[in-house]
Each structure stands twice: as C-alpha cells, then as structure tokens.
C-alpha cells in the first residue's frame, strides 16, 4: 500500500513531464519561421511574402494589382482561397489546384515540387530558390486536413 502511494504521483509526474516532448514547427518551417498549416499563415508567409532565403512571393506574378494574374491565378488575399480550393487548372484539363484531403494530387503542390506531371515551369518561375521541403510539408498538411478556410 505504501509502495503504491509513493509510486502513483511519481509515475503521473513522469507521464506529465514526458508529454511535453515534441519537435518545434519552427525547425521545419526554415526561412519562414512563423509558417503554420493554416490558410491565413500560408497566405501571409508563402503567397504574399518573399522569405529570408530569397524565394519570391507568389503575388509578384499571381496578382490582379496592376496586371493580369499569371496563369489566371490571383493570389491576392481577398480572393486567393476561392482561386485555389476545388478550382480547375486553366492550362491542364482535369487537374485541380487544391483538392482538400489530397495533397499528392493537388496541382499547386505538384507545381511547387516540380513534379513531372506539370505543364510549364516549376514555381516560383524565377527559382531557385524554391520552397523548402519543410515549407511544402506544412502546405501539404494544410491540404491533408481538408484545406480549411482558417
């Protein structure tokens, strides 16, 4: 009985201490340390910002501000979500820019990774630098969890 009394809090304390171990998202996000798997964060850190590695903002070309958006894709923050989620690709019949829950078949991911299935160049078109593996991993996670408008 005494043994149980002594052990219980120690095991519980160990479990609580153990529960705190995790990798930091920042260690994956690389040149965009504030990047998270949310649409708002991706919009801010990827679409609209040039990162510290020199990868240019998508909205340098994909914007309706002062020009026609490249590829018919406008990533300005007020329209970006409706431009990509469940939207067909203009230059490749059958392809969808972002398929919620399916990052592998989302054309946005394929373009950013430089898949052999893409039409045209890997994005960003003036790369390298391109998005890092970690940045793409975070973008993939957002799509994998359903590409919510969050």
């Amino acid at each position: 009985m005494i043994r149980r009394v002594v052990w219980t809090p120690i095991v519980l304390a160990g479990a609580l201490a153990a529960g705190g171990c995790d990798e930091k998202l920042k260690s994956v996000a690389g040149p965009t340390p504030n990047l998270e798997p949310t649409f708002a964060s991706i919009q801010r850190e990827i679409f609209e910002s040039t990162d510290s590695a020199g990868r240019t903002a998508c909205t340098q070309c994909h914007t309706s501000t002062g020009r026609n958006p490249s590829g018919g894709l406008n990533l300005n923050h007020d329209v970006a979500y409706d431009q990509i989620v469940n939207v067909p690709v203009r230059g490749k019949p059958g392809a969808i820019r972002v398929i919620p829950g399916d990052p592998d078949n989302s054309y946005l991911v394929q373009k950013l990774e430089g898949s052999s299935a893409i039409v045209g160049r890997r994005m960003p078109s003036n790369g390298p630098p391109y998005l890092t593996d970690g940045q793409i991993l975070i973008l993939r996670r957002w799509i994998a969890i359903g590409a919510p408008r969050n």
Partner: protein, 277 residues
C-alpha cells in the same frame, strides 16, 4: 538551456524510479537472492524488449547490440552469401550499461551508433511467488537523438512476466512512447505510440534458448511494420551470446515503437551481454 530542461526530465524519470525503491529498500531487499542465476530468465532483454530480471545492488551488466543493415531478402541467395549474410554491410551498434542502484531498482544508458542515447530506469514492483502469479516491473526511459541534444522520446511502461519451471518465460509489456513521430505535432495525426510487446524465452537445452518478441502498435503513430524478432542464444557463464533476426534494427523503445522499414525486410544481428555479478 534546452539540454538542461530535457536533461532534468531524464534525471527526474531515472531518479524518480530510484527514490521510492530507496525508501522501501529494507522492505523489498530481503528474501530472494537477486544474484542467483534464473534459468528461465537469464538476460535483461529478449531481443530488444526488456525482461523482469533484476540487477543486484551495486552490480552491473554490459551489453552490445549489433544490427546489420543489409536486408536478408535483398537479392538472391548468391548475393546474400557474397555479402556473408549481411556481415559485410554496415551495422547499427549499441552499447549499454545497467547498474543496480537500489534493491530491485536499476538504471542504465544505451547509446546507439546513430547517436541516439537512451537513459532508462526499471523497478521490480512485485515478484512471482506465493499468491502472486507474475512478476511486475515499472519501466521509464527517455531517449534523445544527436547525442541527447535533439528529438526526445520518453516512454513509460510495465513488464509483466511469468516463468514456468526453469524452462519458459512469458512476457506482456504495455508501453507508451511519446514523440515517436519526428515531425512537429501540428503536422501529424499522432505523436505517440502505445505498444503491447509480447515475448517468450524457452530453454531448449541446458544453456541454449530460443527467443521471440513482437511489439504491435495498439494505437498512435505506426509507420513501417511492427517490430518482430526471434533469436537463438547460448549462455556461457556470465555471458549471453545471441544471434537474432528482426524486421528492423531498433534497440531503443522509440525505435521499436517506430517499427521496421516498409517492405518486410529482415535483418540479422547479435547481442552479447556480460553480467558483472
């Protein structure tokens, strides 16, 4: 700073195991001879999973683990023979030392050549005999990659075992391992794994044993295939020589929880244990 925080967790776990046993040392110490050979349970591990065997106070044991990284099923038999069944290939090597710090309580360190360091502590709560049908031990570990500077994976579990005569030892080991996924929790569905290890050791000759273990993942992250291993071993005095075959090369609890690589590859390896008592 980060190391200090993680190090304190490791020390808390290890010494957390020792404190109660120290308090209860007198109660638990008398009676059985911990240093005596247990014929059905001669070693501190099966292949990778721990056993209930205790270390006498202020005595120790050293173990070498060796897992050749060449899959045995890669290529035909001629290829395999040309590589001397994988011995020509690189290996993942582990060095381990455990020490009986108090009666029924042991602590240890296991360092793997991939630079993972695991600290562990184990305390024997109840022992088989009388009305008690099984041995029960508590287990706590924490391991960190890059020489315990990155990616910490703590584990808590129990070892429930029963020996039958001096011939068979059976094990059930529910173990929870945290941070088994190397990615941040925001990017994964599960960041821990609950395994229920089962295993057995059978003495088929006076000093020869057959060993098997399986660690299915009951819940949580479960990449690859569940750890499974079997072995044949020979006891010679204070030594135990084991030749083993497994579907992965994990020797720490987090590595075992992560399982083996996809493809059902099999690897050969060996363990050598030397008891200093």
């Amino acid at each position: 700073m980060r190391f200090t925080k993680r190090g304190s967790i490791a020390l808390s776990l290890v010494f957390g195991l020792c404190l109660p046993s120290a308090l209860l040392a007198q109660e638990a110490g008398g009676g059985d001879d911990v240093a005596a050979l247990k014929l059905a349970e001669p070693d501190f591990t099966l292949v990778g999973l721990p056993t209930s065997l205790r270390v006498p106070t202020f005595r120790g044991s050293f173990r070498v683990t060796h897992r050749f990284r060449r899959p045995l099923n890669d290529g035909d038999f001629g290829d395999l023979a040309a590589d001397l069944f994988g011995i020509d290939s690189g290996a993942q090597i582990g060095l381990e030392f455990r020490f009986g710090i108090v009666p029924n309580g042991q602590v240890g360190i296991h360092r793997v050549s991939n630079r993972t360091i695991e600290f562990f502590g184990q305390y024997s709560l109840w022992r088989q005999g009388g009305a008690m049908p099984v041995d029960v031990s508590a287990l706590a570990t924490i391991e960190g990659t890059n020489n315990f500077k990155d990616s910490y994976s703590p584990a808590l579990g129990a070892i429930v075992s029963r020996t039958v005569n001096d011939v068979v030892a059976l094990y059930v080991e529910p173990i929870w391992v945290n941070n088994t996924n190397a990615l941040p929790k925001q990017l994964v569905d599960h960041n821990d794994t609950f395994i229920v290890g089962v295993g057995a050791r059978v003495r088929v000759r006076p000093t020869v044993y057959l060993v098997g273990e399986y660690a299915p993942r009951a819940s949580g992250d479960h990449p690859g295939v569940s750890h499974i291993a079997f072995a044949i071993e020979k006891r010679a005095g204070g030594h135990m020589f084991q030749l083993n075959f497994s579907d992965g090369f994990g020797t720490t609890l987090a590595e075992i929880a992560r399982g083996g690589p996809q493809g059902h590859d099999w690897f050969m390896g060996f363990n050598i244990t030397r008891k200093f008592f």
